[in-house]
């Protein structure tokens, strides 16, 4: 009889990192289905390429680091998210480069799970800088070239889509962002499986809603259009690049919302989700430092000492 002498606790929850990553992939399936429905084979190839290149890059780098082989679910999430943020017209070499950059530079250079920026979004930012024209060529699901709803709002000041079009996704945009419904189904699943917490998404979407309303814009249009749903529920909730403190998560969400509204209303860009989240990612260590929770009974402790 050989007994294991290890520290308590002697039981643990069934939750594992792989399980969380797999749930995130599952939660994106409705968005993938919507992208296939609206954009067909174009979307299919973009997603396949994005996911496969991300996975291969991760496996290769782990091999170079002499790590034990593991199915790279985390990298697949990154590749999938990146693919979902690309326009349907994009040539396939772009997701190849994007996934490679996201995994190799943004994720691995900082060491395992120590990266500062959301890999999918930073990869996308790289693509926007490298191929600005390709990254902003939009078509509607019917194949008509034209601006996205937010783009049209910015340039011409007109709303080209109804609420129901925005909600179901029958509009121009990146392949994964157009259907709010599909994204909300996935988000509900993540809430239900306790993968994500309500604080960041609620603070983010809530801030956008309130601020756009305060500036006399149409708040419902602003939360349904563009990449807000995808960003708030799937990017701003990334564990590694967002604060772990409860208060920090609220501040992070509010900050994202604030920046998104500022960019959308007061800059030359129609959309600001990507830059808002990336900027807030950079603030994460700072937010965390200043929102360090006080332990149970702390205030009283101070009074007792005096």
């Amino acid at each position: 009889m050989s007994l294991i002498k290890s520290a308590s606790p002697h039981i643990t929850d069934k939750e594992l990192t792989e399980r969380i990553e797999c749930f995130t992939i599952l939660a994106l399936i409705p968005a993938v289905v919507a992208s296939l429905y609206f954009f067909g084979l174009k979307a299919f190839f973009i997603i396949i390429v994005g996911v496969i290149i991300a996975a291969l890059t991760d496996i290769l780098i782990d091999k170079l680091k002499k790590k034990k082989f593991k199915i790279p679910f985390g990298a697949m999430v990154t590749g999938l998210l990146l693919a979902l943020t690309l326009p349907p017209t994009i040539p396939l070499f772009v997701p190849v480069v994007g996934s490679f950059v996201a995994i190799s530079i943004v994720k691995h250079v900082f060491g395992t799970r120590s990266h500062i920026f959301n890999p999918a979004l930073a990869g996308r930012a790289f693509l926007v800088a490298a191929w600005p024209v390709l990254m902003s060529k939009w078509i509607t699901p019917d194949g008509v070239t034209g601006a996205t709803p937010l783009g049209a709002l910015k340039i011409a000041g007109e709303k080209i889509a109804s609420y129901s079009q925005l909600f179901f996704g029958n509009i121009g945009g990146t392949i994964g962002e157009t259907s709010a419904l599909a994204l909300l189904i996935g988000a509900a699943f993540l809430f239900f499986m306790k993968v994500i917490d309500w604080k960041i998404p609620l603070a983010y979407v809530g801030t956008v809603f309130i601020l756009t309303f305060a500036f006399g814009k149409d708040p419902l249009f602003h939360i349904l259009a563009g990449g807000l749903m995808l960003g708030a529920f799937f990017m701003a909730t990334d564990y590694v690049t967002t604060p772990i403190t409860k208060k920090g998560r609220l501040i992070f969400g509010v900050g994202c919302g604030l920046l998104t509204v500022v960019i959308r209303l007061f800059s030359g860009l129609p959309e600001g989700v990507m830059y808002s989240i990336l900027l807030m990612n950079a603030f994460t260590p700072l937010i965390e430092r200043y929102t360090r929770p006080k332990p149970f009974g702390y205030l009283k402790f101070k009074k007792v000492e005096k």
């Binding site: 606790p9 002697h10 643990t12 399980r19 799970r113 360090r292 006080k294 332990p295 149970f296």
Partner: protein
């Protein structure tokens, strides 16, 4: 329903919820360590070869924070030597070989005037009886009952939460010995002069809660049963006090700082035994559970070896991987079944099927932060502990951790957070000296 912030919901696994307390067989020998409590170790009062009787005091200390030890069986003292200890690994212990009979010591006598004792007299009896907190911490009860004069105690809470999975000894005792528990509780209240008396019970023990409540109402007692949400660690002192009274025990402070004393169900029963029956603390109820063939609640003589009790529960089911003194969340894994039951042993848990996942890098999911009942950042403390930066670990309030294990339970990367935080705590304390 009343509760606290944070916490986790492990599977209850209360296998022995309905098993009546069974009296364990008289052990052939008992091992009585000279240190079974928080505070100073005892000095032996007997030597090898002496004949001792049940209830005879065999070791004590002059220090105030300590508790004497009594023979739990009658027989011959085999010797005083190092023996296995469930918490300290190994410790000097008095080993007694049974004479096969139960010969009581003269000092064990029923008290007729138990209802008329003064607070001071009750405290003295409790001290002489060697009673310590039987929930697991084993803090000498007479010390708890003697707060400094500037700390006015107005509230007494009987802890019947029993939030550790698997354990059912408190639950069973509440069902089977309610009168004794209530009498013991009233003695403690009298000793403290506390007027608000509560019994806190998790709502997965509705049977015990309803039973005690009905009894107290019938007898018109001024004691309130409070049902608490079933969540681990609901029975932790600070969490329990907060749930019941809304008072927050100050960080690194004691319940008496907010006018409260918390006492375990079994401690109340032990106080009853000492005061009414004149019996010192020589036995307690232990849940023997997990991967044994017949899990049971047993009334066990202190000093009985684990293996003997496991034998009486039909032996191991499968090959044991862990034998734990206590419950699965805060209990201590043993290296063998030779260790004795001590005053603080609430359970003997055998686990045969243990999943061991490799530790991974933290994914910063924040689950440990969400579940920490002390509102700490376990992963940050653990990371500084790894880097041996104990100053930073201290600045993240490592010393406030009471090692409930919620963080490590919830961690999807399977990081042994409690182990790392424990290490940091020890180093911080060393550096502060």
């Amino acid at each position: 329903m009343l509760t606290f912030k944070g916490g986790v919901h492990p599977a209850y696994n209360k296998l022995t919820r309905k098993s009546r307390i069974e009296v364990a067989k008289l052990p052939k020998k008992v091992i009585l360590p000279l240190q079974q409590h928080t505070g100073a170790a005892c000095e032996p009062l007997v030597k090898a070869g002496d004949f001792v009787r049940v209830g005879q005091k065999i070791a004590e200390s002059k220090a105030f924070v300590s508790a004497p030890i009594h023979a739990s069986i009658s027989g011959k003292v085999m010797g005083i030597a190092k023996a296995p200890h469930p918490v300290l690994g190994e410790y000097n212990s008095v080993v007694i070989e049974s004479d096969g009979k139960i010969e009581w010591h003269d000092s064990v006598k029923k008290r007729e005037n138990a209802d008329k004792l003064t607070a001071k007299e009750i405290i003295d009896i409790v001290k002489e009886a060697g009673i310590v907190g039987l929930g697991g911490a084993a803090f000498p009860t007479h010390v708890k009952l003697s707060p400094p004069p500037e700390k006015k105690i107005d509230t007494l809470i009987l802890n019947g939460a029993e939030c550790e999975p698997y354990l059912t000894c408190d639950n069973r005792l509440m069902m089977e010995k309610p009168d004794e528990i209530i009498k013991g509780l009233k003695l403690i209240a009298k000793a403290l002069n506390a007027s608000n008396i509560f019994i806190g019970i998790e709502d997965n023990k509705q049977d015990a809660a309803a039973y005690l409540d009905a009894k107290l109402k019938k007898e018109n007692e001024n004691i309130k049963v409070i049902t608490l949400r079933t969540k681990y660690p609901e029975g932790a002192e600070k969490m329990l006090i907060h749930a019941v009274t809304k008072r927050k025990v100050p960080s690194r402070g004691l319940p008496m700082d907010v006018g409260c004393v918390v006492s375990n169900v079994q401690t109340a029963k032990a106080v009853y035994d000492a005061v009414y029956e004149g019996k010192p603390l020589i036995e307690r109820v232990v849940t023997i559970t997990g991967d044994v063939n017949e899990p049971k609640n047993m009334l066990v003589k202190i000093g009985t070896q684990f293996k003997e009790l496991i034998g009486q529960c039909g032996g191991y089911k499968g090959e044991p991987k862990k034998i734990i003194n206590g419950g699965p969340m805060m209990g201590i894994a043993q290296v063998s079944g030779d260790v004795p039951v001590i005053k603080g042993t609430s359970g003997i848990l055998v686990l045969a099927d243990i999943e061991r996942n490799e530790e991974e890098r933290c994914i910063r999911c924040g689950r440990c932060v969400d579940v920490c009942p002390m509102l700490l950042m376990p992963t940050a403390i653990a990371q500084y502990s790894d880097k041996e930066n104990y100053e930073m670990a201290d600045s993240y309030f490592a010393l406030d951790c009471f090692e409930c294990g919620c963080c490590a339970y919830a961690c999807p990367s399977k990081i042994p957070l409690v182990e790392k935080i424990k290490k940091a705590k020890i180093k911080i304390m060393e550096n502060k000296k």
